[in-house]
Symmetry: C2
Subunit: 345 residues, 2 copies
């Protein structure tokens, strides 16, 4: 085995899993792409402790808890589905029919902590603009760092806010649900603990004021306002490009959590009531090629109702020859109010 | 509507569909990529005849009847799933649990016919080698041309053979089932009616003697022996590359028809009985990236049990840095008989 436990920066809660999986003969494991490299360690550890258990690792995407491999687990006769890296999905519209299949979430909490020097950098950035009440949010991996950062900022004289969005953990954000940000009414800024741009971009599109990111891996403190401006301009351009569209392709999601009938119905009403036309497309994992395969002169623009991050993250830097919008963007375009940017829905 | 019915070279059996769909409120349509451009014509025609019906078009792959979008249709509350371009899947290992969902296959028969000049070319090619008894096979789109070609060859003095493989239509082949070829014991050659290389390559890998292709679109007659030789050499090289492997990744298919527990169990036994190790991976639509995400020094070679065409068609021209084999290839390697090429299983 090539992975040393000491080197693994995430808590896979293997002891809890061994307890929960006692007597289980077959299990399917899902991990986000970034955690897939640890699958051998997980499989070997569980096999060693549980003996006669058959473990399969899903090598499909694993974009979030909206993408639970339930029908796959049922087909494979698995008794449990272990979903690493996410918590239960907050925006589930239709009930999950898991039957006898047990679903076990393992958030994979980050084991590290935030360096003092990063907090110093952050404190300086906040002070420079007279910000006193930052709302602290984090992805689930880094949720345990929220309390730590809150205490460290308080020690430096700030009054950080941590919000409970109800359907997620306290301070938690996911790619399409920024309630923790939106509900932080008294906050004058947001600090997001996360690596990469994906979640911090989401936060910045959800909040009017300054957004800072602390990357717990690099220790780097970043200001998201430039990124937001660049991204927002391009999204507004995409909406502008769609303004004369009258024939819409509505793309409906077929991953367990990405079927959003309420949004599909809303869009159908908005389009029909304006005497416009739509076609309905079903999609599990959307790609440009999949859209191009059904593209024709019958369609002016597409609306992706499965995941609002697909148009933003996959179609902003290199757009399709036709506009591809999120539901929120489409509603603004249909209402003729391109200047209103709704995110994420 | 941009497509003229006269221009559509396939029979979508819309009158039958209108009959079968009476009273149905919601339907999901699947088409292979090549037929997706006709989806607007199909949707508009059915909507016009059936009025208050909601039609969704799947924009996912649609590789065959092994890939029935049943869980998607159920999630969407569709009452019927129309699967264009294929017939019921012949190699289904586990029962299809469709419940109340009605599955309707529309083979999409080709409307054209084979030009006399093509048959002349074919007759000449056969005569040149003294071939008298070609077995005629076709993909489902062109199955109606088999009888036509048979009569045309008989008129020219040949004795064509057409075989009923039992679980498919008479003379039919699909990407992973060439029973119609394998059961044509008395044939001295095979003629396959199809466009493209995919099915004709499959035929050539399934038959010892000469294989000819008639492309009904271009009218071109081709000899497959060169293609076979080139492809086979590369596959044997891939098997050679896997000969010292002792840690195997078995990739298990999770599309409805691509779960093949019998083959997975066989491979597990073959590997374990030799004191070797395996890891199990579950996959719906396999890509190189999906393999690379889980690749590690724990694995020497991969075996794809979902669809035997994936290693051949996707990993022959530009192979991965590790061998990716079909089950048949893997068995030969495990038995130490690399020279034996088993296809498709």
């Amino acid at each position: 085995m090539s992975v040393n436990t000491e080197e693994i920066p995430y808590d896979f809660e293997l002891e809890r899993l061994v307890e929960e999986l006692k007597g289980v003969k077959k299990v399917l494991i899902q991990l986000p792409d970034g955690l897939k490299k640890y699958s051998y360690f997980i499989v070997d550890s569980l096999s060693r402790s549980l003996g006669n258990i058959e473990i399969m690792v899903s090598i499909d995407g694993g974009y979030g808890a909206c993408d639970l491999k339930i029908s796959e687990a049922k087909l494979l006769n698995a008794e449990a589905l272990i979903h690493f890296g996410h918590t239960q999905y907050s925006l589930q519209e239709v009930p999950i029919e898991s039957g006898k299949l047990r679903i076990i979430y393992v958030p994979a909490f980050y084991r590290g902590s935030i360096p003092e020097s990063s907090v110093d950098d952050l404190a300086e950035a906040l002070k420079r603009e007279g910000l006193q009440r930052p709302s602290i949010v984090a992805t689930v991996q880094h949720i345990r760092l929220i309390g730590e950062l809150k205490a460290m900022l308080e020690k430096r004289g700030f009054h950080p806010i941590v919000t409970s969005p109800g359907r997620l953990l306290t301070g938690q954000i996911i790619g399409c649900d920024y309630s923790a940000v939106i509900l932080s009414k008294e906050a004058d800024s947001v600090v997001v603990i996360t690596g990469g741009l994906f979640h911090s971009l989401g936060v910045s599109l959800s909040f009017e004021g300054p957004v800072f990111q602390i990357d717990p891996y690099s220790g780097r403190v970043g200001d998201l306002r430039k990124d937001k401006e660049r991204w927002l301009k391009r999204r507004l351009a995409e909406m502008y490009r769609a303004r004369d569209s009258s024939r819409w392709g509505i793309i409906v999601g077929t991953l367990t959590g990405q079927y959003r009938p309420s949004i599909v119905e809303r869009l159908k009403r908005e389009i029909s009531s304006r005497g416009m036309k739509y076609y309905l497309f079903a999609s599990s994992v959307l790609s440009k090629d999949n859209i191009l395969n059904i593209d024709s002169e019958n369609i002016d623009a597409y609306i992706v109702t499965s995941c609002p991050r697909i148009p933003i993250d996959d179609f902003t830097e290199s757009p399709l020859h036709k506009p591809v919008l999120t539901p929120g963007e489409a509603i603004s375009v249909l209402e003729g109010r391109i200047e209103v940017y709704r995110f994420p829905w």
